[in-house]
Every structure is written in structure tokens, then in C-alpha cells.
């Protein structure tokens, strides 16, 4: 068996180990975990949005080449 298959136990695109971890948590912790995930996703989206704006406003830098 491929060692990666053994570790991640993917089947049909489902990460079984993730489900196992989630089932070991209490319902309350699962809901809090969802909140944390959403918060992280929103923070990342904001960061990407902010990054794009900053990037757009910056003058183009010449590409550095090394001889």
C-alpha cells in the first residue's frame, strides 16, 4: 500500500481521518471549530483582497536578473 494512502485514508475524495478527529470532539467543540474555520477563511479573504489592492497601487518593479 502507498504510505500516503495509509496516512490520509482518502476514498472518493473524503478524508476519513478528518472525520475521525471531528467525531472525537464534543458537539460544542465542533461548532466552535466551525466558527474558527469561518473566521480564518474570512481573514484570509480580507488579506487577499487587501493584498490585491496594495499590489495594484504599487508601481511596476523591473524584473531583477542575475548575471
Amino acid at each position: 500500500m502507498n504510505p500516503l494512502t495509509k496516512i490520509y485514508d482518502h476514498e472518493g475524495g473524503v478524508d476519513k481521518t478528518l472525520i475521525k478527529i471531528f467525531l472525537e470532539m464534543t458537539p460544542e467543540d465542533r461548532l466552535l471549530s466551525n466558527d474558527n474555520a469561518i473566521r480564518t477563511i474570512l481573514e484570509l479573504r480580507n488579506a487577499v483582497k487587501h493584498g490585491r489592492k496594495t499590489h495594484r497601487n504599487q508601481p511596476k518593479q523591473p524584473v531583477k536578473t542575475f548575471k
Partner: protein, 170 residues
């Protein structure tokens, strides 16, 4: 000026719903999360009991958390009693994040039909009635919602691990 809601804290929303003494069944993605499905969801879906007393409590609660309808045109419309008495879906923005208040879900199932297919979870010292994962899977199997395409294998595998005993805490 109207407050623009940006924060999402669905756990707090659930806590406040309970504190307000509202009768509801938690359905949708968050119900699946509570039972162990490792998915993420941005909103909370509830089916409320449509009695006069419960609707009055729910309406008061919604007003207290600044609920307004989620609309593409950004018009500010607060929920009304008729909306909660009706048979439709009320999609809201609140101070704690998006909340969908549903009279019915798939197959026309309302609070009275769903309550027998719930599991009780303990959340912040309150009992919460959550639509069982088994029922969620059964209802979603017949649904055409494309969102279900990627979620279904995860829900089915979660259900399988639960039925095998796993380490489920509920």
C-alpha cells in the same frame, strides 16, 4: 446609519437563540457539523415552531440582534410577524452572522414533523434539537442542490463511522 454586519459567530447566535427560549430545530450544514461532519458553513439554518408564542419570541429576538433580510439590492427590510407565520424561507443577516429561518425544509417537513428525527445535544448548558445526520442524508440524497454534490460523500462517510461505533461524542 444602518450597521453593516460583518462578523460571524454562529456559536454565539445559537447561545442567544437558546437564551431567548425559542423552540427550533437546527438543520442544514451546522446540524451536520454538530454531529461530526468536517465541513464548514457560513450560515445557520433553523426550522422554528410556528406557534403564536414562539413566533412572538423569535421576532423579538431577531429585532434584538439587528436582523434584516439578505437581499441582492441591499434594501433594509426587517423581518415581520407575517414572514414567520408564513410558509416561506426568511434569509437574514444578523449581528452574529447569516441566519435562515425556515418554515419547512425538503419534502415540506416543518418543526412538528422534524422534532421526532432530532438528536439532543448539549450546548452552553442548553439542550439543542439537531436534525439527525441520518435524516439529513436521506433528505439530501433526493435534493438537486449542487452544494450537496461535494458534501454528500463526507456526510455519508461520517454516518458510516458513527454507525460503526467510532469515537462519537454524540
Amino acid at each position: 446609519m444602518e450597521e453593516k454586519h460583518t462578523a460571524t459567530n454562529l456559536s454565539n447566535l445559537l447561545k442567544h437563540l437558546n437564551n431567548a427560549g425559542i423552540e427550533f430545530v437546527l438543520v442544514g450544514g451546522l446540524a451536520a457539523v454538530a454531529q461530526g461532519a468536517p465541513i464548514s458553513t457560513f450560515d445557520m439554518d433553523i426550522v422554528h415552531r410556528r406557534t403564536d408564542d414562539n413566533i412572538r419570541k423569535l421576532l423579538l429576538f431577531l429585532k434584538s440582534i439587528g436582523a434584516t433580510q439578505r437581499r441582492p439590492d441591499d434594501k433594509i427590510i426587517e423581518p415581520a410577524e407575517e414572514d414567520l407565520k408564513g410558509k416561506g424561507h426568511l434569509l437574514l443577516n444578523t449581528r452574529f452572522g447569516p441566519l435562515d429561518v425556515l418554515a419547512f425544509i425538503e419534502k415540506g417537513l416543518g418543526f412538528d414533523e422534524l422534532i421526532d428525527n432530532t438528536v439532543e445535544i448539549e450546548f452552553d448548558g442548553h439542550k439543542v434539537y439537531v436534525l439527525s445526520l441520518e435524516t439529513i442524508v436521506k433528505l439530501k440524497q433526493d435534493s438537486n442542490d449542487p452544494k450537496n454534490n461535494y458534501r454528500m460523500p463526507i456526510l455519508e462517510e461520517t454516518l458510516r463511522q458513527i454507525s460503526e461505533g467510532g469515537n462519537n461524542k454524540e
